[in-house]
Symmetry: C2
Subunit: 422 residues, 2 copies
């Protein structure tokens, strides 16, 4: 409790843009976010009043940081679960807990637990050798042949069998013939991947050999015939209240989320409810406190869980203006065990587009912003105060309106203006 205000203190480990935007939300609640930042120049450290410098792997630093916090939470998923468990045992309210966050840190544990829970996952397997991967590809091929046989047995009148594999996300371009051979398979580092890093599309046994030789602990997954990617975002409090946001479509390029469309266009009410229920069930089953983002593949056979994140998530940035309660405020409410906020949309169509650092040189960012504001006075801009580096997420824009196609076009154009300065 901050004795100056009578309001709680939340500490966030990590000083990135998620902490930066959480601080904005904290201000409205009468709080000031405490930030544990590696550098004083980190995104959140530039704007928060209560910044401690330290690393998230240093237990002593975490312990010191937690003193006087009503709750401690995370800007990323890299805090060792052992440290989280230690602090919790010492009485720190630290969310999500070690027993939950491990499923966002360790893809093998996540896949195991989701399989146990009966959640829809792609075929997958932990692997240690290239032979394991080849075996897996063979298994996938066999399973697909058997699936196909079963489908042929049924009457062929569904009309929805156009398994056009999209080229986005971890299901990158594969060429054709996958159904015959099981290749390509998707390999994922068990730990540490994000924004497309730690994910590899393996076209054949030779590529598998090469990857295994790096010594990275891996799982492999079947490449699912995804139609698009969705995300279901929920928040859960220690009391057990869960609030679900409208399901969104996420558009990826090179493994990085570039656009989020809210609500997911053309998604049936039934499918949307299914995705929300899945996220709610997972939040409950995994004991998540705070936000849980469930990244999903939409396939002809239904939804498949791709990844889990337990923190404010890129797929929820649109909520700052697009939902009655932003994901950042919702996360604070959850970890403080406040009642959850309303999650309804504030406009029929909301699109968030990430702003990535463009090529070096060219127009300074301030000038780009000036041009953007002149071109589109209604676009909402969020810059993270980061040095521009090619491909780095340096901000995002949000556009709200009535028509998804035009809203999306405006958002994409706005992001491009900030990115490329034209």
């Amino acid at each position: 409790m901050d004795t100056r205000t009578g309001l709680p203190v939340v500490g966030m480990v990590g000083g990135g843009q998620l902490a930066r935007m959480t601080h904005q939300a904290a201000i409205a609640l009468g709080q000031s976010l405490r930030v544990l930042s590696v550098s004083p120049d980190d995104s959140a450290a530039l704007v928060a009043a209560d910044v401690r410098i330290g690393t998230h792997t240093d237990l002593a630093a975490l312990r010191e940081f937690a003193k006087g916090c009503d709750a401690v939470t995370f800007d990323h998923e890299h805090v060792p679960t052992g440290h989280i468990a230690t602090l919790a045992a010492e009485g720190v309210k630290i969310y999500p807990g070690a027993d939950a966050i491990v499923f966002a840190q360790d893809k093998q544990r996540m896949r195991e637990r989701l399989s146990e829970l009966g959640a829809p996952v792609p075929r997958w397997r932990p692997v240690s050798t290239a032979a394991d991967i080849a075996d897996f590809a063979a298994e996938v091929a066999a399973a697909r042949r058997s699936d196909k046989a079963r489908v042929s047995d049924k009457t062929n009148n569904s009309g929805t069998g156009s398994d056009k594999a999209s080229g986005s996300g971890s299901g990158k371009d594969s060429g054709s013939g996958g159904e015959q051979t099981g290749w390509p398979v998707v390999a994922k580092a068990v730990r540490g991947g994000y924004d497309g890093r730690g994910v590899w599309m393996l076209p054949d046994a030779a590529a598998a050999e090469e990857l295994v030789a790096t010594g990275t602990p891996l799982i492999v997954e079947e490449r699912v015939p995804l139609q698009r990617e969705l995300a279901a975002l929920v928040a859960r409090s220690p009391f057990g209240q869960v609030a679900a946001y409208p399901v969104v479509e996420t558009v990826q390029r090179d493994g990085i989320c570039v656009e989020v469309l809210a609500p997911a266009p053309g998604l049936s009410e039934e499918r949307a409810l299914e995705a929300q229920q899945l996220a709610i069930d997972l939040a409950n089953a995994l004991g998540v406190v705070g936000l849980l983002a469930v990244e999903l593949f939409e396939t002809p056979a239904g939804l498949v869980v791709n990844e889990l994140a337990m923190r404010p998530h890129n797929s929820g940035h649109w909520t700052i203006e697009g939902s009655r309660t932003s994901q950042f405020e919702q996360h604070l409410r959850a970890v403080l065990d406040y009642p959850m906020g309303e999650t309804s949309l504030t406009a029929p169509a909301v699109v968030m587009a990430n702003v990535l650092g463009g090529p070096p040189g060219g127009m300074p960012i301030d000038e780009r912003l000036h041009h953007l504001f002149a071109a589109d006075p209604g676009v909402r801009v969020h810059l993270y105060g980061k040095q521009v580096r090619p491909g780095r997420k340096i901000g995002h824009v949000t556009v709200l309106g009535d028509d998804m196609a035009s809203v999306r076009a405006r958002a994409v154009r706005a992001a491009r203006r900030l990115q490329e300065g034209e």
Copy 2:
């Protein structure tokens, strides 16, 4: 320019809630507001990263503060115009300039200038003695008799002559008989009044005598038969671009704004445009850079200007969620000479209600907030991190929806919950 980010630095003199909310807006623009605060416990100083401690009357402190700022602006109107002019002469971009802000500091200068410009003002006069005030009351009475005579000469069929004097704002309860005698008259301190302070309703000559004896420099104004109070908020950039917000109704109690209804219910399109045009004309004529709030009385005879403010204003807090661009971002855009943002409403009805400090004791503020969130998950809360003192503005709430009556009822209820803890 902040070399770490390539984005500008705005300095705001004063560390109150306006600076606090401006910092939130600055974060989205990639900036971090620099705050000159009297105390480290001031509302904005609790949440901003770049806080300098100093007073706004200290030229040396202002000069030091302005170093490295791309623009300097104000959380309040108490910086001496001499200091502002000095800094401007030294090359500081400081907005609004001394020549403009004087009209928000000095009510006599404001009334003189508005009269020159032909803007609608109540009958008024600077006074130094109780006899001056009695003379003014007599003049008002004579003028009203002559107005009445003129009206009687015309055919009496307009049907809109119900000059029911409202009891709010500076036109507090007067009893009856004002039209015969000119009393009560409204006395205002030439400088330094706000939130009902520095405004007195004088019922008679004895009260005038008593007030004059305090030595406060005064003007007096006719008590206009106001139907309600409105506010027109505009922003103007050095380039001369002006953006106008929808006109709102402000509801006062004991001289303090308690509710703001956006858009002003039942206001004709014609009257709304008139109010916006008036504010735009004044912003241009006075050379305002940044926000200009024009507080208006709506009377049977038309609009009358009550007060001017040149900074983010209580009548614009609703814009954080209720307009596409918040007044705080708009003010930053204006003083940085960025193009102005869109001002359209995000919902058909938006109501802001101020949260005043309640009686001492009772439920702690954090617990009140918990109860409010449980009762109304859709209300937006802004707490300023201030110690609770009776009558002090400690925060505000905003509710958005389709129906003004129900939106207003929710906002009032929410504010009361935070205020009284029931």
